[in-house]
């Protein structure tokens, strides 16, 4: 019995490590005007996806372990054939940075520059290659958080 207890203890210690599950879902983002003339953005099932469609990505992370997970960083290369929609990235308790060099470096939009015609100019959304969320709070066990952004299908 003593050996068994030790074994269980060891097993518990192993399980005590945090496990964070992540998934991402795709949506079709449409503007819907209600009876009062108020327009709101709706995230719908991704049907009829053609050039020009606004595509929404929602990323959900959940701490399924028993210890807090910290230093959470989501790095999302912007999908090929899409263009990031300015200021569409969201994420609670996270600093959102962007890359214009294939994910080597990240910065805030105002600090992103690219070279065009041998001139250093402010980067535009077509230059963005990656989005990064750096969470500044730990994720407690059994807690979830989300990040999201939208792109336009080229």
């Amino acid at each position: 019995m003593k050996y068994i207890s030790t074994f269980i203890f060891a097993l518990l210690a192993f399980n005590a490590q945090a496990e964070v599950a992540m998934n991402t879902d795709v949506f079709k983002v449409v503007n819907v005007t209600d009876a009062n003339g108020k327009t709101s953005q709706q995230w719908q099932a991704p049907e009829n996806m053609v050039p020009g469609t606004v595509v929404g990505y929602r990323i959900t992370i959940k701490n399924t372990g028993k210890e807090a997970a910290k230093d959470l960083v989501i790095n999302n290369p912007i999908p090929a054939n899409t263009t990031y929609i300015a200021d569409s990235a969201r994420g609670a308790d996270a600093r959102i940075d962007y890359s214009v060099d294939g994910g080597k470096t990240f910065a805030q939009p105002a600090e992103l520059f690219v070279v065009k015609n041998a001139k250093k100019v402010q980067a535009s959304v077509v230059d963005y290659t990656h989005i990064r969320w750096t969470f500044n709070k730990a994720l407690a066990p059994q807690n979830s958080t989300t990040a999201q952004y939208t792109v336009k299908l080229n």
Binding site: N23, E47, M49, V73, N76, N81
Partner: protein, 384 residues
Amino acid sequence: MKKQLSLALAAAGLTIASQGAMAMTAAGTDILNTVNLTYSVGSQAQTPVSANATFKVDRLVNYTIVADATANLTAVTPSQTNVDITFTVSNEGNEAQDFIFSAQDIATSASFQINGAGTSYTDEVVYAAASGATFWEGAVAAGLQIQAGSTLNVPANTDQAAATKTKTITMRLNMPAAPAQIFNVSAADAVFPILTTIDATGTLNDVKVDTAALGVTVTAKATDGSGIQLTLDKTAANGLTTKENVFADAVAVLTSGTSYKSEKSTTTGYKFGTAMLKMTKAAAITAMPAGVTGYTNNAAIPGATVEYTITVQNYGTGAASSVAVSDTLPTTLDYSTLALTSTTGAATSNADTATGVVNATYTSVAAAGNSGDTQTLKFTAKIK
């Protein structure tokens, strides 16, 4: 220095233009989103986690057809051949698109027939052809339509070379001799007016025919490549990982309930050219009476010879047919001396020495804009 500056500006302009013309993502492309997560527990970095989401780009069916002569009808005259109206078909979708075309008479909704197959359009040959290759000509059973399978394929807007996403079709009209056969007018309205009188003072007479028009609706129908028009139900399931057709609003035509077909029309057409006849009449003393000689200038005295010259000119855009000229001479002339001196081009002509009436008819007076001609009639009589 100035030259260098302008070159630099031109280069910058090109860059902006190419950025503006963003190529469309081709239908069927898989859009993959891969998300990566790193985190740590305590001070220990954990194994990174990743997640994917994929969807397949659907097929956007979107296009335009524009007639080059939309604003102005194209003028035709009887028996004129090869009167072409061109249409530009532009594919605004993300996959190459096949089309068939049909053409209808706006006034009657009748489809055009080829070589008189089955309708009142007996003489005209109306057909369309892809630029460089005829496919609308020949034995087509029903209407002004391309034979099944002989479709026009327009490349998609999935590369940045805009020149590859349009094609031109041509509608050709060969006019019959009698316009009533093709224009929606009664036979009585469709013949050109006959100029029957000349006013006593010889004042110019301008006569217009009413213009008759043939309106044509040409419809481009998106097909599946085998000549079958594309249709869809907007409520049908649309899979995340499959490629479905999606009609842009501009080319979706409701058939019933939630079912749509894809087609787009444009209208243009032909009109009669207008005949405008102008007539002039001049008189000149060409000979003194017998026994009066030695004068440099002829005088209008009894026995002198008067020559009248009547001209009929068509300065409109369409030929005038069955033109008749008639002139009754004043009684101060000796009718018995009346004689025609020049009747070039006249189909019939005569001078009546009893009544003093001159008649001439012309089968056709061509339009001035079409290397038109002037018909001239001359006759003489002596002063009483």
